[in-house]
Symmetry: C2
Subunit: 578 residues, 2 copies
């Protein structure tokens, strides 16, 4: 490619609208442009990266025996009603009505469509397992699209689905997919973490997320200092404290406060240690099981984990906090002064709370608290559950090491769905003994557009993007200096360009009449891994100046050696030529 | 690929729902499945063909200097309001509202989005021309989706757009694109025709359609027996008759009929030649120019051309016929007995009508007609226009030869849009003299999914599809006979399979335990061009039975010669390996 026949669209200024470094750099490098909130056009440079990832992912899927299909983006509402997700999915599901008044959705995911396909095509266990994938556009009507293509509304995704006669067969394919995702992220030279995760609106019981590590990530990942254990903070288990509960030494005392509105106020104004305070949080009960409200007890320095709480049978899901007014129907106090003593509703204590002694709770009278409270002396031990976020220093749930926390961007998520969809949609086969059997199912998502942004969040410097060779829009840039004044520079550049193209190397020749500084900063911004500068001065020594973008090192090469060097360093990336 | 690890999904029975041969064969060959009316899932065999066409089209677009981009499928309504097409496009435009109440469309085409991109990116003539394309999903809410993927609602399209400072530059690119489309269709071995066409809802003044010839096509194409002239029947010009109008010999006579309701009745009951009858058709006037109705005169054996009529200044567009009731406000007769004599509304005669003498017209009294009518004796000559469809035998409008008519499937359409969108959306550049100049624009569509169906309509036999080598889902099929009983057959098949794969040949090995007849009919149905049968009997002579699907010829090959032969015949198709 020649820059004069290309659409570089680089921007000098930092765009004011961009909220993360990857978003800024993708705009500045001419990779994307925003059409509307959460909707982006991929410009030529961006699309080249999309296509390189797509090719890499497709090759890996084919290698593990997945067959590619392509399903409609617009899906009939009837299938979503059948699976139950028409109601459950929430307002991210973009619904529409066609000219004949029939309801459809713009597909955020394709479990329903592919289950419908399989129930029509498959009748016997002999046809299983079936493993399919597509690489296609998805739409989720995000309430707040942000971070560029990390949380956009329309995005490109690889979604895979597998169908099995048995749970064992599903687990086998799940393990193969787990390895395949690891291979893909390794080929892209990404620093990532595989974590146990919540299954959310997709469903099933076992799932893993693939998180690209980056400070700007919006996921917290808890991982062990001494084992391979890692989990999304949403589900990372907080073990009960290893020390037995200490015997209480204080007596129960009631005291009155003024202007105490937070736990932090209590700590500051009364100099009590925060880990001696018990917070009482009141949520709505699951109306299928219980009426009214449920109180949750969490230590003052801990944070309630919503997902863990939602999984408790008597609690409403999604989690819903009671208002001050609703609480006052059950006791004399508002939200600020609640406590478990004499509270007339089911109480659930976090494992850490159950291990406390001589602690402080609200007295259920506005502005009043009790200190020196102890279990089984002042009140009975309630039901105990794990309902808090882990914190750094907690024991790892596998008993090996302690937990640390880092931030990540979720780029992949794989699920053992089991029979969630096949049951609802009656996808059954005849098994070997002639009985009907519900098909087991797995699904496997990988965000193609999000992967690009994640790679940039993790790999950039003050000049621009640092691409790994397999992802770079171009592998090599040739910058001839003063092309219009030196015939020798022009000829050498053109000759090198032709030779590299002939070798299957993805090269861009900057044949603009521009100042060297501008050419150089454009190529650094776009992140071309190998930059070759051809100038009259160096040609006197038959040399080319070479710069490695990632290593930030310059080196001189004889012209004849330059091509050999590039072929050797690009060997891996050339296995996937453009 | 091995059939045991593949999803053949072939069907023995002709699907009752399929209305054309290509639709039947695509279902039977396991290429597509219907999800809902006009929505299809591409199964692995179908998607392989899609990807081969996509690659071929992409290569050709890149060769002529077009850069690939990817634009959102969901587009903001505001851009369509700006271009005026929000109202004009009609009910094929699928509109929707997001969770924030903002209006969007599911994009049927991308002129608005790309014009918005260009007006933001381009400020100077120095940046022009810009030539962009994408290969992406489109949606048109067809009132009656039919013929499988030929007229589906969701479909895959290559859409290209070019932007120019001058009309000359636009014409240059238009000519290059014209040749590129011809190249693409030639590489696919299709029999096609390039025709002048109506610009419809896309706009502009000059356009050409690329029509794949097939009896089942829904387009009529008029072409010259002696020149390269060809045009869609919608716009093919009907020249005035070459002979001068004959002098009338009959006298004007009024006669009364009974039970005459059609021109055909007049011919049958009164034995008048049909080409002596003048039909009087009444349509609504363009309210910007005139009120009321307009009468159109067309010869009895001719058909009114709606698109030609709509282009006449005083006629409403879209064309709207007057009802019997509306007509009776202007004269004493209903639709059946109208004629130009004494009719109180503007009259437009077709060129052929103006050349008639001694003709028959309605008398504007129910059931009454005049015979022996002549221009300028019985009534003045009205305004004359070309308002009919051409018929076979008409002179070609370039004066060379006569016209014949054949049927085609429109697979491509290219347009010189001029400034239609750039004017409405203010896409301007600063020209060399410092003045503002509106950008000229071209757009170029090629229906990828429709091309596949068109290729099948044109190339099939009673056993299934006949693919050209560049499109075939697999180039070669290996059918080992009695694989479970002959170790020698199995080994030979496996060995040949590995060798062909190593040569980059797209091969499928049918390793099912199936009867030879079933294996053979599956491969013929899917349309694999080269079929190799390996049997114990032939291996005694170290031979393989080879069948060419297209030529329907069998031939024996020595094993060692088989690979050489395939490499030689697949040479062209291997330039685009999978």
């Amino acid at each position: 490619m020649r820059t004069t026949q290309y659409m570089l669209s680089t921007l000098k200024e930092k765009p004011s609208s961009a909220d993360t470094i990857s978003h800024q750099l993708m705009l500045r490098a001419g990779m994307i442009r925003q059409l509307a909130s959460g909707l982006y056009t991929w410009l030529p440079t961006g699309l080249r990266v999309v296509q390189k990832i797509t090719r890499l992912v497709r090759e890996e899927m084919q290698r593990i025996g997945f067959l590619e299909v392509s399903m409609p983006i617009i899906q009939p509402a009837s299938l979503w009603q059948e699976s139950g997700r028409w109601e459950q999915y929430g307002s991210e599901l973009l619904k529409l009505v066609d000219r004949n008044g029939r309801s459809f959705v713009v597909g955020p995911t394709h479990e329903e469509v592919i289950t419908d396909l399989i129930r029509n095509e498959v009748t016997s266990y002999k046809q299983l397992p079936i493993k399919l994938f597509q690489i296609h556009t998805k739409f989720r009507d995000e309430i707040r699209p942000r971070f560029g293509v990390i949380r956009s509304r329309e995005f490109l995704m690889k979604d895979g689905y597998s169908f099995h006669e048995t749970q064992e067969s599903l687990q086998e394919t799940y393990a193969v997919m787990y390895s395949a995702y690891r291979n893909i992220l390794k080929k892209m030279d990404l620093n990532f973490c595989i974590v146990e995760a919540d299954t959310g609106s997709i469903g099933g019981c076992i799932s893993h997320e693939f998180q690209v590590l980056a400070e700007s990530g919006d996921n917290d990942i808890a991982y062990s200092t001494e084992s391979t254990y890692a989990a999304n903070l949403e589900i990372a288990e907080a073990l009960p404290p290893s020390n037995a509960r200490q015997l209480g030494s204080q007596i129960k005392t009631q005291f009155l406060t003024q202007n105490v509105t937070t736990t932090q106020d209590l700590v500051e104004k009364f100099h009590v240690p925060i880990n001696k305070i018990v917070q009482t949080l009141v949520v709505k009960a699951n109306t299928d099981i219980a009426d009214g409200l449920v109180a949750l007890l969490v230590r003052g320095d801990h944070v309630l984990n919503k997902i863990k709480a939602e999984r408790i049978d008597i609690i409403a899901s999604p989690l819903c906090f009671a208002t001050d007014q609703e609480i006052r129907r059950y006791c004399q106090a508002g939200i600020k002064s609640l406590g478990p003593i004499g509270l007339n509703m089911p109480i659930i204590a976090d494992r850490s709370v159950a291990a406390m002694s001589d602690f402080i709770v609200g007295a259920n009278i506005d502005g009043q608290y009790f200190t020196g409270i102890n279990w089984e002396r002042d009140l009975p031990l309630p039901r105990i559950e794990d309902i808090r976020n882990v914190v750094e220093g907690d024991m790892s749930s596998d008993g090996k090491g302690v937990l640390l926390i880092k931030r990540g961007i979720e780029v992949g998520h794989i699920f053992q769905l089991g029979t969630k969809y096949s049951n609802a949609m009656k996808a059954i086969v005849q098994s070997v003994d002639g009985c009907s059997k519900t098909i087991s199912m797995g699904c496997y998502g990988l965000g193609i557009s999000r992967l690009i942004a994640a790679a940039i969040e993790q790999n950039h410097d003050e000049h621009g993007i640092l691409w790994s060779p397999v992802l770079a829009p171009f592998q090599v840039a040739i910058l001839p200096i003063n092309i219009q004044q030196s015939f020798r520079v022009r000829c050498t550049a053109e000759d090198l360009y032709s030779q590299l193209l002939a070798q299957g190397i993805d090269v861009i020749l900057d044949d603009r009449i521009e100042r060297p500084g501008i050419m150089f900063s454009d190529m650094e911004l776009i992140g071309i891994p190998h930059i070759l500068v051809i100038s009259e001065r160096n040609l006197n020594n038959k040399e080319i100046e070479y710069k490695s973008r990632v290593l930030n090192q310059k080196r001189m090469f004889k012209i004849s050696e330059m091509i050999l060097y590039l072929k050797s360093v690009l060997h891996d990336a050339m296995l996937h030529p453009n």
